[in-house]
């Protein structure tokens, strides 16, 4: 805390009073007892000098030194009780005496000042550590600002206000507003009595640290540099504390989000597990069927596969919906994609697919798993909506700096309700005789959107049937 000026001046008066009292007392004693001794008197007269200097500072000390010299001359040097000096040797004695008194005064004054400073520093650092402690336990922005305001007020004995913008502290259009804005922009201190904006009504101190601005207005002037330095440390600390709670809040939000994500993932994994386990038994059971018409069991197996795919599609759609399915994009050769997609089809469909891949087909950027599902669903769709033994053609070729995947069937083609074709659970009007829920095309649409691929459908230019096209842009610029 700033040592109270009034208390200090009272200290000074008391020191001076005592010093004068002792000096004149000693002078009186010297007059009454002439055999007190010159040397004794000289030493005793140094006491008030030291007293005045340590209690009242250097100037008082020097004054007392001269007064002590005069008293010494008046009482102890011949002719006594006059200020005259008879012997030239005594002149030297007096000179040396005054010099000693002056040195004593200045040493004591300096020691006293150092003591004051140390006391002040100790108070300051106690104040500062108490404040940082309070800041640590402050959990809201309001509390932090309150703690900082209290600390600045204690430290300066002036009123103080702290805010995050200059609008809250300085009236618009005033010199103060300009000072406040300057302080925020330069993360510095300015205002009343300071270079720049010395006409402002207050001192403005902006925090040097912190992600956001923090500004204090001190309603006073004439703060010593050391005080101002402490104020700046307080504001910086408050700005750091604000950052800290913001970071903590963000981490907590992230944690909550991650927890929710983990929970969702676990739920999807367990749904997937619960669906796949019975499918395993079902499929194995179908494979074990013997003594039946092989074409019949093959049909059953194809149904089981389709059921698997539908469940899988629904699960994938749900995951995409809640952002649990984020694309992981890498370089892909469409040859690989087509190969793996055909491999996932029922045997009866595999044989119908014909592949043509242009030699110049470039690599594309996509998520391999999502693209796999896109192509499998498009192939299944083609198989579903075309006669059982008709051909399905898959083409991959380069196009406009990217690549294009085309799937052609020999079915009835599409009607005009193309916009609806990709909608969840919608099917073309020919859908009545085809099995499935139409979930496949919804997955195609959703995944393509997530990946930035463009899927279009139209009737084949030649012959009947539908033509689905997936367009991939060229390689995105490397970041």
């Amino acid at each position: 805390m700033m040592p109270d000026l009034r208390a200090k001046s009272a200290d000074r008066t008391i020191s001076l009073g005592f010093a004068l009292l002792i000096t004149f007392g000693l002078g009186w004693a010297g007059i009454i007892w002439p055999n007190l001794g010159t040397a004794n008197l000289a030493l005793l007269l140094l006491i008030p000098v030291v007293l005045a200097a340590s209690g009242g500072g250097r100037v008082l000390g020097l004054g007392l030194a001269i007064l002590a010299g005069a008293v010494f001359n008046f009482v102890a040097l011949e002719p006594r009780l006059t200020f005259a000096i008879a012997k030239s040797g005594d002149l030297v004695t007096l000179g040396v005496y005054v010099l000693v008194a002056v040195v004593a005064a200045s040493v004591s004054a300096r020691l006293a000042a150092a003591g004051d400073r140390a006391r002040e520093d100790a108070t300051d650092s106690a104040l500062f550590s108490a404040m940082t402690h309070q800041l640590l336990s402050a959990s809201t922005r309001e509390l932090i600002i309150e703690v900082a305001v209290r600390a600045v007020t204690n430290c300066t004995s002036f009123g103080c206000a702290i805010a995050e913008t200059n609008h809250d502290l300085a009236p618009p259009g005033s010199q103060d507003e300009a000072a406040a804005r300057w302080a925020i922009v330069h993360r510095d201190v300015t205002g009343r009595g300071l270079p720049l904006f010395s006409d402002a009504s207050a001192i403005y101190v902006a925090a040097r640290t912190g992600r956001r601005a923090l500004l204090a207005r001190i309603d006073g002037a004439g703060l010593p540099d050391a005080r101002l330095g402490l104020v700046r440390k307080i504001i910086d600390e408050a700005a750091d504390a604000l950052d800290r709670i913001e970071l903590a809040a963000r981490m907590e939000a992230d944690q909550r989000k991650a927890d929710a994500q983990t929970m969702r993932r676990a739920i999807f994994a367990s749904i997937g597990h619960d669906l796949r386990t019975p499918m395993t038994a079902l499929r194995a059971g179908l494979e074990g069927l013997s003594g039946h018409d092989p074409t019949q069991t093959e049909l059953l197996r194809a149904d089981a596969l389709r059921l698997e795919r539908t469940l899988h599609n629904l699960l994938e759609l749900a995951r995409l919906e809640v952002n649990d399915r984020l694309p992981i994009v890498c370089s892909i050769d469409l040859t690989d994609t087509i190969d793996a997609a055909i491999d996932a089809l029922p045997v009866t469909t595999k044989d119908r697919v014909h592949i043509w891949i242009g030699d110049e087909t470039p690599l594309i950027q996509s998520d391999p798993i999502m693209l796999h599902h896109i192509v499998v669903n498009l192939l299944e769709n083609a198989a579903k909506y075309s006669p059982a033994s008709s051909n399905i053609e898959v083409r991959a070729e380069s196009a406009d700096g990217g690549a294009r995947l085309v799937i052609l069937d020999e079915g009835p083609g599409i009607d005009d309700d193309v916009a609806d074709l990709f909608g969840l659970f919608r099917r073309g009007t020919h859908g009545d005789r085809a099995p499935g829920l139409g979930v496949g095309l919804s997955v195609v649409d959703a995944f393509a959107r997530a990946l930035g691929h463009i899927v279009t459908v139209r009737n084949r230019p030649t012959g009947t049937g539908a033509e689905f096209v997936v367009e991939f842009y060229g390689e995105p610029p490397k970041s």
Partner: protein, 233 residues
């Protein structure tokens, strides 16, 4: 037949089913329904191959992959978890293969045979692979197609050689890139795509419909070697 195949799955009817499938393939079988039992059997009956479900009641099956591999047991993960990162994790930890439920029983048996084959000690293993009309001589580092030499670039050869030495097993993108191009290029999948395409151009009968180097979407590649009909085990 040699030592029994270890099957680990906590669901009784799936365990029964797996046992039936593996026994149909001509193998003896020991079974476990949790991780503790599985580890005990792994130590006492030293199976060559374990079919391992990842969702075990007492621990995460992925921990067992490493422990089994350290014991010299080849692991085929048979899991209902269809999560790409989990597949890659299992394969990178040393699993020989990963089969997702529901599986094709013939496919599972084929994977089991391929895994058993790859356990043959190196010196007894044939250094020559016949892929259709392509003859791959790993010892002499020569590839012939219909008696004429096929020339591969050094990286292409290194890749084919690596796949051939693990024929039938899927190797992850990261494993392939690390071995052939070095650890610094572990994520440069493009290199791999380009090299695979080049190899296919040179050895596949129809490069657009590959039969030898097969893609596992998002995971890696596997070299498929046509099985000799006599090897019906």
């Amino acid at each position: 037949m040699s030592a029994a195949i270890l099957i680990v799955d906590d669901e009784a009817h799936i365990l029964r089913l797996l046992r039936a499938v593996v026994e149909r393939g001509g193998h003896h079988v020991v079974t476990a329904t949790n991780g503790r039992e599985a580890l005990h059997l792994a130590r006492t009956s030293s199976p060559p191959v374990a079919l391992l479900d990842l969702g075990l009641p007492d621990r995460d099956g992925i921990e067992l992959v490493k422990q089994f591999t350290d014991l010299g047991i080849s692991v085929i993960v048979v899991s209902a978890r269809d999560d790409i990162s989990e597949k890659i994790a299992a394969l990178d930890l040393g699993a020989a293969d990963y089969v997702v439920k529901p599986f094709d029983t013939d496919e599972l048996l084929a994977r089991l045979r391929a895994t058993l084959r790859s356990r043959t000690p190196q010196r007894r293993r044939v250094d020559v692979l016949q892929l259709g009309d392509v003859r791959l001589d790993l010892g002499a580092r020569r590839i012939q197609r219909n008696q004429s030499e096929v020339h591969l670039a050094p990286k292409e050869y290194a890749l084919l050689d690596l796949l051939a030495r693990h024929a039938g097993r899927v190797l992850t993108h990261a494993q392939l890139l690390r071995e052939v191009w070095g650890p610094a290029h572990e994520k440069d999948i493009e290199y791999l795509r380009v090299a695979v395409r080049a190899i296919r151009q040179k050895i596949e009968p129809v490069p657009s419909r590959p039969t030898f180097i097969r893609n596992e979407p998002g995971i890696g590649y596997r070299l498929m070697v046509p099985e000799a009909p006599a090897e019906g085990l």
